[in-house]
């Protein structure tokens, strides 16, 4: 933490993530649909791998009950 190209960007991101995680639970949305991973801009391969894996996981969960929200 703190080792961010955007200074304290990752600190803010983590704070925002934790808050969203709590909100998602209160709203009754499955919390596994939300994930935080740290990927630097130099790690294209890793980014693609995580995105592919997470997309696969969401597809296997199927659509959530929220269709037209937000």
């Amino acid at each position: 933490m703190g080792d961010c190209h955007y200074l304290d960007g990752n600190v803010k991101a983590e704070k925002m993530f934790k808050m969203t995680q709590e909100l998602v639970k209160i709203l009754g949305i499955d919390p596994v649909r939300l994930r935080l991973e740290w990927v630097s801009s130099a790690e294209g391969g890793r980014f693609a791998e995580i995105a592919r894996e997470f997309t696969g996981q969401i597809i296997s969960l199927g659509p959530s009950s929220l269709k037209q929200a937000a």
Partner: protein, 368 residues
């Protein structure tokens, strides 16, 4: 006839005397002269106003103007109807907090199984019963505004404690939805109706005859807007302050004196000017601010929209006014007033304490 001319007819804005009391009274105009209720009405009457006018989103709809208007023009309602039309044309205000709160409201229009009663610890509640406690958005605010130490949920726990002390075990439900107040004042009538329908179905299925509110916005919306859109309610909306005043006069509960702590009260616009509740909170008040009751100033932002340096200026002035009375604590009875003032307190590093009325009441509740 143009849409604005229609609005003028429904709200009888043509009675405007052009006296300017509205703009003279407006807390926004004082800090942001580009916003003027009088000019919005004048421009509308001369067919010069447009729905794209971005200043219509700056109105706090706090009703300081309309309560003083000699022609009895309901300017907040005029603005609400303007926003409805503007929203349908694709114009909107600037949502505060990146629109997160509007998203939370939208999600609640959907078929979701919320876990919003997580805060009930020792309180006694029931699945069905005569009294429903409508908690409102506090469970969400408590998470979103933790960084300014808003303490939103403590007051809900205390309201439940007060109800339990009075011998009431209310229904508190995970299926409660946002009351729709903000959707209504953001110009999103459709979203309001979706939320309201879900709440009405829920209350009907709980069998409640009374619905108790501790949030002025929820109370005002249920009491005045739900019947307007859905006809007469089959339950009675009761504000906890009226409920408390009754229990105090019946001697069911007693409050202890304040001791060392001196407090002053900030009248929330929805509680005072819009719902007419002024006297009940004053039973525990020591110091009155110069601008109180009908003249109480708004907390600076409404409907999670257009929060700006102007809002901060209004809040700072209000907190100074509270401090000048000699009180060390400002009491509010609205979760949003509390959030806005605590935000300003943190931003300007002020000394004054800001406390929710129900935290104070629970603290002074005499127990056997």
């Amino acid at each position: 006839m143009t849409a604005i001319a229609d609005l003028i007819n429904t709200t009888k804005t043509y009675y405007c005397l052009d006296c300017g009391v509205c703009t003279g009274s407006c807390p926004v105009s004082r800090v942001f002269p580009e916003f003027s209720p009088r000019q919005i009405i004048e421009r509308s009457l001369y067919e010069l106003e447009e729905f794209s006018d971005h200043t219509i989103w700056n109105c706090l709809t706090c009703a300081q103007c309309s309560i003083r208007c000699p022609a009895d023009i309901n300017f907040p309602e005029f603005i609400r109807l303007m926003r409805d039309e503007a929203h349908s044309m694709g114009f909107d205000g600037v949502p505060a907090h990146n629109g997160m709160l509007q998203t939370i409201m939208s999600i609640q229009t959907q078929d979701v199984q919320q876990n919003r009663t997580y805060w009930i610890e020792e309180g006694k509640t029931q699945e069905t019963g005569d009294v429903f406690y409508f908690v409102g958005c506090r469970p969400y605010f408590d998470v979103v505004f933790r960084d300014i130490d808003a303490g939103s949920i403590t007051a809900a726990q205390n309201v439940l404690k007060i109800l339990n002390t009075c011998g009431v075990e209310p229904v508190v439900s995970n299926n409660e939805r946002c009351c729709g107040h903000d959707a209504l004042w953001n110009g999103n009538e459709e979203k309001f109706k979706q939320l309201a329908r879900l709440n009405l179905d829920l209350i009907r299925s709980s069998g409640a005859k009374q619905v108790v509110f501790s949030c002025p916005e929820g109370y005002h919306t249920f009491k005045n807007f739900y019947p307007k859109y859905f006809g007469e309610l089959d339950f009675e909306p009761v504000h906890i302050l009226d409920f408390l005043a009754d229990k105090l006069s019946e001697g069911v509960i007693q409050l202890e004196g304040s001791g060392e702590k001196v407090v002053t009260f900030h009248d929330p616009c929805r509680l005072g000017r819009l719902a007419g509740i002024y006297d009940a909170p004053r039973k525990i008040l020591e110091k009155e601010m110069p601008r109180s009751r009908e003249n109480g100033i708004c907390c600076g932002t409404s409907g999670w929209m257009n929060c700006s340096s102007c809002s901060k200026e209004i809040q700072l002035e209000r907190l100074k006014e509270a401090g000048d009375t000699g009180a060390g604590t400002l009491i509010t009875a609205c979760p949003k007033c509390q959030i806005h003032f605590r935000c300003a307190k943190a931003a300007f590093d002020l000394d004054i304490e800001i406390t929710d009325l129900y935290d104070l009441v629970a603290d002074r509740l005499k127990t056997e």
